[in-house]
Symmetry: C2
């Protein structure tokens, strides 16, 4: 494991993306987004993704010179067309548009179309909370070749992991930041189990015939992930499919392997009560929850977002650990585009 | 088990409520709401509730002569103050207000304050779907003496079962209607297990000290229900607490046993694409899901809301079964207010 400061990794990411022909502002935005995911402890959404993104650029799936634009629009709603740029660029314009409209109209809904991977959803809902809004972001889609979730009661991998994020402004506390997949676990957990040669618990996956399995390899032989909490996670995933995917017309984008879209809601707290008063009420509620005695096997009760904020504080101080294999992949990817990654990182 | 037509039960419910001094229009609205829950198969939200509601009227908790009113208001938002009338009356005005505003402004958020039990959430989100809107309804609150859910990792029953509902307009299919509690199960399931003398599965409850338990009696000895899917259900429950409770100021209502409120969102589909086109896209997606082969132990894949719609069709035809004990309670409650329930039911 190598240790880097966030700034080093941002420089590396930005340099590699610029090496592919990505404009500087876009490269810096995506680099910042990926490294912020690392800081928050979500390494699966961090610099690990760079080689794959570059491959997607090479294959024309990501068009880094495109610019997202607002298409269909009303004072309270918008569709943001990403034009297949990086998903983060699309999502940022989406969140900015939702915030601007909610500041003017108190409530706004923005949907994204022609989007690539938008990264960590909490980044976009969190922008709304920082602006004094309640933020809600849902991504939905299907036919992804990588993750495959079955509807409850079924044996077919036709639903994505369709995540939900909410962010709530606070006073003294860090913002409440919810961000979870509607599948019982992310696919990455299966890869970890395989690497360890360990089984997964009952209730994670079915095999290709729809039978319960504890062998994580069964997922990669045509099996499927189960939705979280049975019909509840399935219901949320289907709503994400519809609100993220269909509301903006993502079923017509012509890419059967990526029909995902995103639904964003911003609600201006001030339309209901003064923000400071609301924030104090939320703080009080969080204090009550933090005061609950831990259950057997737990040290304390955490607020959603608290693990991420702690990771951020620790990694800003101690740096971000990058596995050797990931670093090697970054070196190799940089080399393809004439970027000396070690030099950029200053090592 | 006695069998009744929906109309018979509505007449009974309305007559009993009118016997308590409830105005006719309010009595009929609540009666219709309760019986529609029975039709949908949610007997826990049906006529079973009448004796308790009447007790709440007697105790001044429900004020049936009060009228809900819109207080704080903008073109896209409103707070509806229920003035402690039946929750259904408050929720209906809330949903109507959200629909009206969303028709004019495309998106609307309404919160409810001073509300009693609002009944089946799907009734209110469903009203929005019938009006061509995406509907989302969340109820949140805490310190309820009846149900008690612990935050994930904790051992304190300070969170409600905080349900979520979504409704989506469709074309040929019945509407997509999601309605679930964020606890792993409703408290009623524990009562059923006790009645049978059966244990509950691991993961349903903790005992009063925060240890896992399979004895449903432990819940009633200071134990607690667990949130669905661990931190995911807990996160949703906390968001419901904040959006349902705190956004409208329900922490200040002066009833520590009922600090619940409701958050309603209506989004006009037409702001994004023509409703018929959206409905056809949703239909297509539902067809894909219905075509998934069933998993081991299942007969078919169901769409959220499908079990309710089937129950409704069947019970409209065959009638609604009412257990003897429930019927006896209705007879006794009616008698208190000079209502001959058998005569009203025409039996």
């Amino acid at each position: 494991m190598l240790q880097f400061k966030a700034e080093q990794l941002e420089k590396v990411a930005s340099a590699i993306f610029q090496g592919t022909g990505t404009p500087q502002d876009v490269a810096e935005l995506v680099a910042h987004s990926l490294v912020s995911a690392n800081l928050m402890g979500h390494d699966s959404h961090g610099v690990l993704r760079i080689p794959r993104y570059c491959q997607q650029i090479a294959e024309g799936q990501i068009v880094p010179t495109a610019r997202p634009q607002v298409t269909t629009e009303t004072p309270t709603t918008a569709i943001v067309d990403g034009n297949w740029n990086f998903g983060q660029v699309t999502a940022k314009l989406g969140a900015e548009t939702a915030i601007k409209k909610a500041k003017e109209q108190n409530v706004a809904v923005v949907t994204l179309v022609h989007q690539n991977h938008v990264g960590r959803l909490g980044e976009w809902s969190g922008m709304m909370a920082e602006a004094g809004m309640v933020g809600m972001v849902i991504t939905g889609g299907w036919r992804s070749p990588i993750t495959g979730v079955t509807p409850f009661g079924g044996a077919g991998r036709i639903i994505g992991t369709n995540p939900y994020s909410f962010a709530i402004p606070t006073g003294q506390h860090e913002m409440v930041l919810v961000d979870f997949a509607t599948s019982v676990v992310a696919e990455g957990k299966l890869q970890v189990a395989i690497a360890k040669g360990a089984p997964v618990p009952q209730g994670y996956i079915l095999d290709k015939d729809g039978n319960p399995s504890t062998d994580p390899n069964d997922f990669y032989k045509g099996g499927m992930l189960l939705p979280a909490a049975g019909h509840k996670g399935y219901s949320l995933a289907l709503i994400a499919d519809i609100l993220g995917g269909l509301l903006a017309g993502n079923e017509r984008v012509g890419r059967d392997w990526n029909l995902t879209g995103t639904f964003m809601l911003a609600v201006n707290v001030e339309a209901f009560r003064p923000l400071a008063e609301f924030a104090a009420a939320v703080d009080g509620r969080l204090d009550e929850i933090k005061a609950v005695q831990p259950a057997a096997g737990f040290q304390e009760v955490l607020i959603p977002g608290e693990p991420e904020m702690r990771s951020k504080a620790q990694r800003e101080k101690d740096g971000i650990g990058v596995p050797e294999a990931t670093w090697e992949a970054l070196l190799a990817t940089g080399a393809k585009y004439g970027v000396d990654v070690s030099k950029v990182a200053g090592i």
